[in-house]
């Protein structure tokens, strides 16, 4: 029997030489070298992209500062504007001790869900698990429901702890059953609205950024955490006005 096919042999030194060449390619340029290395050495395009961004001869701080600085500045300013909103509703908030106790934990919680969604979705993009019809992907659906269920449980739990602390510290007379129910509902609705919003922002922004050949990690986490901080203040203020 005579088999006639070309066998491509993996040569380590040649792959290393190609990877060094790849790191010199400008970030915004699609280069045929990526396709060539992927084809010859069977290294995934996602790995090649990561090596190009943060390889041995890359200026890592420069890359991070270049991609991350602007968005983090924007995120911090947006959060500080959220601080302005906090200043405005301070008088109303101070009359409700459980919400005062809850505020930092709630801010953290919503921000955390934002960063979990962002980092897991970034990894999914790198691993090539997100196709054009992302809403049909089982892992994307699972991510959404996992975060939503956990958000619901932790919201009720933290509201319960805040009410317990209030009851046993300065405001025992304030914590009536109706008041407790309202606090629970405010917390739950706030978390559900924000988690849903963060999920869709992450998916659309993540796909867009990844298509532009940038690292979604550097953009998505600052975007989602600032939306979470700012959105939490606004949604919470609106819910307080609605319920009280």
């Amino acid at each position: 029997m005579n088999f006639n096919f070309k066998l491509k042999v993996f040569k380590r030194h040649k792959a290393r030489h190609h990877l060094k060449k790849l790191q010199k390619v400008l970030r915004h340029k699609h280069h045929p070298l990526i396709h060539h290395i992927h084809h010859v050495h069977r290294i995934s395009k996602k790995t090649l992209f990561y090596v190009k961004e943060y390889g041995a001869h890359t200026n890592v701080p420069k890359t991070i500062l270049k991609e991350g600085l602007k968005i983090i500045i924007l995120a911090s300013i947006v959060s500080s504007i959220g601080g302005l909103a906090l200043e405005q509703i301070k008088a109303l908030f101070l009359t409700m001790l459980p919400l005062v106790i809850l505020l930092p934990a709630l801010n953290d919680m919503v921000g955390d869900y934002g960063s979990i969604i962002a980092s897991r979705f970034s990894t999914m993009l790198y691993k090539g698990e997100v196709q054009k019809q992302w809403w049909k992907e089982p892992q994307v659906k699972v991510l959404f429901w996992q975060i939503l269920i956990i958000a619901g449980i932790t919201a009720v739990l933290s509201a319960g702890i805040a009410l317990f602390i209030s009851e046993h510290t300065r405001a025992p007379l304030l914590v009536t059953p109706l008041f407790s129910l309202k606090i629970m509902l405010i917390t739950l609705l706030d978390v559900i609205i924000l988690v849903s919003l963060l999920f869709f922002v992450t998916v659309f922004a993540g796909i867009y950024i990844f298509k532009k050949k940038e690292d979604p990690n550097n953009f998505l986490i600052p975007i989602t955490t600032s939306i979470a901080d700012f959105g939490n203040m606004v949604v919470l203020a609106l819910l307080v006005l609605l319920f009280f």
């Binding site: 500080s80 005062v100 953290d108 919680m109 690292d215 901080d229």
Partner: protein
């Protein structure tokens, strides 16, 4: 034949996220209590309520993407969880340097913005505020970055997905270290 993969909602990831969130709630409540306990000292600083969310946000936005970048590298196999090589050294050193540079630049910028806001809106001259925020930013970074690095590698080595745990852990740790760093700076100055 392609291997069929099934995805469950109540899987290992669910457990990891849930437990890390419990840690986060605990951290948030500690941070809130600390803030409530030292309200008088912190509110002596003009516009602290405007500065604080941005400052807390900055801490999470520096350390969480760093952990996420390292996680992506670990999952792709570019960064090896054990041993050292040139790429691993370069990525870790680069991330640490970048985190300090980001912290310095952002703290300075936030300090200047709040200083200008105080000067033009509230007619209060507070140049010391810039120094407080810059020093607090560097102290908070020095406290949080080594923990972030160690925890990311440790969790990956133990078979966990650091993406599920590091985000919540670092934001709540960031809140605590940031408030502690501001208080420490106030004591120093």
């Amino acid at each position: 034949m392609a291997k069929e993969v099934t995805y469950k909602i109540f899987d290992e990831n669910f457990k990891e996220i849930f437990w890390s969130q419990l840690v986060s709630i605990f951290g948030g409540l500690i941070a809130g209590s600390a803030l409530a306990l030292y309200t008088d000292q912190l509110l002596l600083i003009p516009s602290m309520l405007i500065l604080l969310p941005g400052f807390l946000e900055m801490r999470a936005n520096i350390s969480a993407p760093m952990a996420s970048r390292l996680s992506s590298g670990l999952f792709l196999g570019i960064i090896k969880p054990t041993g050292t090589n040139q790429i691993k050294k370069n990525i870790i050193h680069g991330n640490v340097i970048a985190s300090f540079l980001l912290s310095f630049i952002l703290s300075l910028l936030l300090g200047i913005i709040v200083f200008l806001m105080n000067y033009f809106v509230f007619q209060v001259y507070t140049p010391k505020l810039i120094l407080i925020i810059v020093i607090a930013g560097i102290i908070a970074n020095a406290l949080e970055i080594p923990v972030a690095l160690f925890a990311t590698f440790y969790l990956f080595k133990k078979g966990h997905d650091p993406n599920n745990i590091m985000g919540p852990f670092l934001t709540s740790l960031g809140d605590i270290t940031s408030i502690a760093a501001i208080l420490l700076t106030l004591v120093i100055l």
